[in-house]
């Protein structure tokens, strides 16, 4: 059933064309359609079921429109219409003829409600209708979404479709469906045994459930045994994929930590400013994403590409401003920077509260970032996380190059180690400071763009990440970018491996205790600065 979403997504595009093609409903269907507009929500299911089986026009368009919550009817004529929502305007068209009804206003129509139960049914019904869809991927998803509900008429449909089926992968899915059915319903133990054999290699949860049932309840001992063997095999696989999954979770948490911390690794790690406003720089980046989407509502798909450079600029400029106005006056007094930047963070928080309201803001996820790629039924990687891992690494690499290969990097380090001497060597320390702080803040802004895809965009966003960020930088070793990288991933992975055992709360506590104890072993973090000067 979880494939329904995917189906819906790919159907959306086809929606208009199919509705244009639909023939007008038959005699037998007319009264049912009328009833659909009148019936109470909890009585609608039988009507739909009848509509599915009654001869006449194809009900696919109707079902799809309804599933999407776009099915309306004209109050007067009781004619069914489909709504097409485009940003703020809604256009209506006749469901069957496809004729656009431009003079219809919101007042004249009423929505046909759906609830979860109906949605569930609609999804299945659509899947049944789509067993013959031209696209093999759709067919495959349709079959798989029917696994959990293999009634006899569904099975007949699948059996028929199997005969015509050309695509290898769809055939396999259909075979699994048929075997599932046999495993459940076959009278003869040998048939069930054969079915179990056919199911071998499939990782579908439905298969596992079926095997569990057989292993526990089947009257025949050999069937029970075979089912158990199959089950063990699946469990073995599940364990492995579970491990991979956890690793992925850990890495993705790590990359979030990395993104959040990496700007701080510059402002704090390299420049030595205890930057309590770092979280707010992240927040500014996230709000930039929000504003970009607000300004360009039609370009959600590209919004992030616009937001990344913009957020870098917004946060970077804010950083430069802060440096020029405040930090500059605090050279040689690193602890005071804590106080001042804390003040700044309060001001920035309240500022977004005033400008954007204290409520969270809505940031949409572009389609290319939503959903997941399914590697097999046991392992799927969510796309947004995948992108964020890649993005975090990319940002890290760029930063590394900037600091290692440009003169800025050298100058920053020289200034932070001995300001007076750097001046005497002709380094324009003011500019270096401003640029570095701007760079660190800008990177934080970029992190904000990424985080806007995962969590709240609100005034508290920064606060949520500031402590973690400091923890990561310190754990990795102040002033060492690689340390920050390793620390972020270590903490992420550790957290995700502890969490299933202890629960989320205890996992965080244990990770903290681990950090505290670790620092006793290595008082300067994972990658300490070595040598005489570091003392």
């Amino acid at each position: 059933m979880r494939y329904i979403n995917a189906i819906c997504a790919c159907l959306l595009g086809l929606l208009i064309s199919t509705s244009v093609l639909a023939a007008s409903p038959s005699e037998a269907q007319q009264p049912l359609l009328l009833e659909l507009t009148e019936v109470k929500l909890n009585k609608a299911l039988p009507v739909l079921q009848q509509l599915e089986t009654t001869e006449g026009a194809d009900m696919l368009a109707l079902f799809k429109t309804m599933l999407n919550g776009d099915l309306y009817y004209e109050k007067e004529t009781r004619r069914l219409i489909a709504a097409l929502k485009e940003q703020s305007v809604t256009r209506y068209s006749d469901l069957f003829s496809g004729e656009v009804l431009s003079d219809l206003s919101k007042k004249q129509v009423r929505k046909i409600k759906v609830n979860n139960k109906l949605r569930g049914y609609l999804g299945e019904a659509i899947a049944r209708m789509q067993l013959n869809h031209p696209d093999s991927a759709v067919r495959k998803d349709a079959v798989r979404s029917l696994f959990s509900d293999l009634g006899s008429n569904t099975i007949t449909l699948i059996r028929d479709a199997r005969l015509k089926e050309q695509s290898r992968s769809v055939q396999e899915a259909m075979d699994v469906a048929l075997a599932l059915y046999r495993a459940r319903h076959a009278e003869e133990a040998t048939d069930r045994l054969q079915a179990i054999k056919d199911l071998e290699g499939s990782l579908e949860p439905e298969v596992r459930n079926q095997l569990t049932q057989l292993a526990e309840n089947d009257p025949s001992r050999s069937v029970r045994k075979a089912a158990q063997t199959g089950l063990d095999k699946i469990d073995q696989q599940a364990e492995m994929y579970g491990f991979i999954n956890q690793l992925f979770f850990g890495l993705s948490l790590g990359s979030v930590l990395l993104l959040a911390a990496i700007g701080l690794a510059i402002t704090f790690g390299v420049m030595g400013v205890i930057n309590m406003a770092h979280g707010e720089m992240i927040m500014l980046g996230a709000y930039t994403t929000y504003v970009v989407q607000l300004m360009l509502p039609n370009m959600i798909e590209y919004s992030l590409w616009i937001a990344v450079p913009l957020a870098f600029m917004v946060s970077g400029l804010a950083g430069i401003l802060i440096e020029r106005l405040v930090i500059r006056h605090l050279h040689g007094r690193p602890l005071e920077t804590l106080l001042a930047t804390f003040g700044i963070s309060l001001i920035l928080q309240q500022m977004v509260r005033t400008v954007f309201s204290p409520l969270n803001r809505q940031v949409a996820t572009p389609d290319w970032m939503s959903g997941s790629i399914e590697i097999n039924p046991l392992l799927s990687l969510t796309l947004n996380r995948l992108y964020i891992v890649a993005f975090a690494l990319l940002v890290f690499m760029i930063l590394l190059i900037v600091l290692k290969k440009t003169s800025l990097g050298l100058n920053v380090r020289a200034v932070s180690q001995n300001r007076d001497m750097a001046k005497a060597m002709g380094i324009r320390t003011d500019r270096v400071d401003a640029m570095t702080f701007g760079l660190g803040s800008g990177i934080a802004g970029i992190a904000g763009v990424a985080l806007s895809q995962l969590t709240n965009v609100g005034p508290n966003l920064g606060q949520a990440y500031i402590i973690d960020s400091f923890m990561v930088v310190v754990f990795g070793g102040v002033g060492n970018l690689w340390g920050t990288l390793v620390a972020a991933f270590t903490l992420g992975v550790a957290n995700k491996f502890i969490e299933p055992v202890t629960g989320a709360v205890l996992a965080s506590i244990l990770v903290l205790v681990f950090i505290i104890l670790f620092i006793q072993k290595r008082p300067k973090g994972l990658f300490p600065q070595k040598g005489r000067a570091a003392e």
Binding site: F268, I274, M276, V326, H329, L330, G332, R333, P334, L335, E336, T337, L338, L339, A340, F342, G343, I344, S345, L346, I347, Q349, Q350, M351, T354, Q463, I467, F470, M471, V474, V478, V505, L506, S508, I509, L512, V513, I515, I516, L517, I519, Q520, K521, P523, K524, G525, E535
Partner: protein, 386 residues
Amino acid sequence: MSSLLSNFMSFSRINGDSKVAPFVVVLLVVTALASSCNLLMPEDSVFYVSTYTITLLGKYLCYAMLALAVDVIWGYCGILSLGHGAFFALGGYAMGMYLMRQIGDRGVYGNPELPDFMVFLNWSELPWFWQGMDQFWVAMLMVLLVPGLLAYLFGWLAFRSRVTGVYLSIMTQALTYALLLSFFRNEMGFGGNNGLTDFKDILGFDLQSDNTRVTLFIITALMLSGLLVLSKKIMQTRFGKVIVAIRDGESRARFIGYRTENYKVWLFVYSAMIAGIAGALYVPQVGIINPGEFSPINSIEIVIWVAVGGRGTLVGAIIGAILVNYAKTKFTAIMPDGWLFALGAMFVLVTLYLPKGLMGLVAQLKDRQLQNVNNRPNDKAEEGHA
């Protein structure tokens, strides 16, 4: 020149000229005045000080004590603790547990043994760490011991492994954060997020009566004065000088033969105990203790009070704490929507224009006066020591 005099002189040179005695006198006089005005004046008199003000002042003084604790280690030993709220909260919890047990069967479920939240979570008996907390002296012992022991343990680990600087600061932050999360857990047996509240009386005195409140307030003021004087005295001994020496050159101090980790541990423990006492006095006056006190942001704020007042001056820390909290009270009432702007701006401006805090300002003014009077250049080479 007598050695004592030289002692004193040298001290005042290190850390600005902060006069403790006049401050203590002012503090006690204000306390006495406020208390008597609350108890003796009729409510409609202009001189009447409301109980609200008294509890507010009491709270400020507890915070001041906490700031004192931070200043002792930060100002004098350079250990920036971003987790002192933890010791404060632990002291507070110890007191809270005592007060909770004092409720007895007056809780909503009327269980004479178990506090309400335990009944609520179906616990059948008191966990071991609640045993004995109905005895005042046990509780008071815990107020000192629990923060002290934690500080000892943490300090022993950290200082022996020579964790210093930001690493130490962030570890203290991790410590308080871990405690925050732990105390949030209902399984811990401290009432989870709700914490301990709804106290009735302390040592048999009704917590809601004005007399008790005033007494608590006076005790807080006395305690604060006592601890201030004690801390000042300690800092004037050679121990104090060693502490400052550790701040400025730990390894040098080691090469002279001081086992610096011991000094730091003991100072840390002392400071944690002050924080614990502050917490214990805080709880009966505000009426609630919950894990929020462990929140890292709170601990950062404490540091800020100290910085605003001027670190390494003790009196400054106290003034800073009172001032910032007073400002918070005022700002939140005057401009509930914008007070964070004011507070934030205050922090920024203080850092920029009063690098040594308010006490620094005082010293500066005094210096200027001196210069004018004596027309003799004064030695002001107190470098900022990070």
